[in-house]
Amino acid sequence: MTEPGRDVTATVNGVSVSRHVPNRMILADFLRFELGLTGTKVSCELQVCGVCSVLVDGKPVSSCTYLAVDVDGKEVTTVEGLATEAGLHPLQTAFVENFALQCGFCTPGFLMMAKALLDENPHPTKEEIVHHLEGNICRCTGYRPIVEAVLAAAEGGQDPVEAARHG
């Protein structure tokens, strides 16, 4: 029996990609094994830990529990889509400056969740940041520097990627 699958065309970090993928392939495997975008990590595989968070049409999803066939016609943003030729994304800079990572395994997920928040709510309160990041687990930092980094990025002003897009 041939593996049931579908053709998928999606825009990933601004680049159009087309593949034939098995129905059962999860988005995380599509990104990592089909596209070589290994910045997205996988840990709990139960959408509890947040490590595999990516954006689909701007909304945060757990790529471990999201079918690759469901990104057909959609825009996907991964951690590789944050930095530009001009340099790091303000969130990435803020994470470095606030020591918001140690081992770094959870960082791509936190960055993508934080981007989803700031795109929708550019000036969140500390409480709103904590509430939004509740579903992400970090075993190194104790969370405080992460929350401070997101606050710092929010105070730092506009997201250059979004600014360039809206021209």
Binding site: E3, N23, V48, G50, Y66, A116, G135
Partner: protein
């Protein structure tokens, strides 16, 4: 890895209803179905994508009720102006479901059909006298959410029936915001969730997450309540979140706190 399956993407409710059966399961956000498949608990031959039918998503007002399409995401319910205006309690509850990704992916209808005993939504909708509409090629029927929930992961839905929408009566008390929901949650699902609602002739309490399905209790007033006897009819399920004794105790504590929170909202 997920087991292999066929995928159908119907574009109308009629087409969808004609396809589903016990081996062709409705699939929406996948936040619970895909987990059950990963764990080997379910191995359907076909998944039928509910998201491809636009008519099943959205919030509208109809005859003094809020009607929510089954595939509407938790985040979309929380963001709905209609819900904010007529049922602010549901907005707050939806804003606290799971985590931000579950809220973006998961649907309110899927949550009800899966009947995870620790769902926030089942407790609140049962207490609000919500009803669900079930459609099959045999016809359409309405069921109260309180009766729809039969037990843990068990609802009054035949395999060929599709939950199309949820309907909640609009009441003066809920427009005024006289409803509180408090939960104790230390991991991804609550240990106990208690809703307290002002009603025309008293107060309603719904206790969820402790037993296989929520317990609804109507009170004439909030004074002199014997909390211990109230939780007597609970049948707590002991698990990693605590023993039967602990869960009964923590339920009494949260009922008391929820009634206190309601008192503050009303005053």
């Amino acid at each position: 890895m997920l087991p292999p399956f066929e995928l159908e993407r119907p574009t109308s409710v009629a087409e969808l209803v004609a396809i589903i059966n016990d081996d062709a399961l409705p699939y929406c956000g996948g936040t619970e179905l895909l987990l059950a498949m990963k764990m080997g608990l379910l191995r359907p031959r076909t998944l039928v994508d509910v998201k491809s039918v636009a008519a099943l998503s959205g919030v509208r007002l109809e005859g003094g009720r809020i009607v929510i399409g089954a595939s509407t995401s938790h985040a979309a319910v929380a963001a709905s102006d209609i819900v904010a205006r007529h049922l602010p309690l549901l907005k707050r509850v939806e804003n606290g479901v799971g985590n931000a990704r579950v809220r973006a992916q998961g649907s309110i209808g899927g949550n009800l059909c899966f009947a995870e005993p620790r769902s926030d939504i089942t407790t609140v909708l049962a207490a609000l006298d919500a009803t669900v509409t079930l459609m099959s090629s045999r016809g359409t029927r309405q069921v109260d959410v309180a009766d729809f929930l039969l037990g843990a992961y068990w609802v009054d839905r035949e395999p060929d029936e599709l939950l199309t929408e949820i309907s909640i009566p609009i009441t003066e008390e809920q427009v005024a915001g006289h409803g509180a929901y408090l939960k104790l949650q230390t991991s991804e699902r609550p240990t106990v969730g208690v809703v307290a609602l002002r009603r025309p002739n008293g107060i309603r309490v719904g206790i969820g997450a402790v037993s296989e399905k929520p317990l609804i209790v109507d009170l004439e007033h909030a004074d002199g309540i014997d909390y211990d006897s109230m939780v007597d009819s609970l049948e707590p399920v002991a698990d990693l979140a605590g023993s039967v004794l602990y869960k009964k105790h923590v339920a009494t504590v949260y009922v008391e706190r929820a009634l206190g929170a309601l008192r503050e909202l009303v005053s």
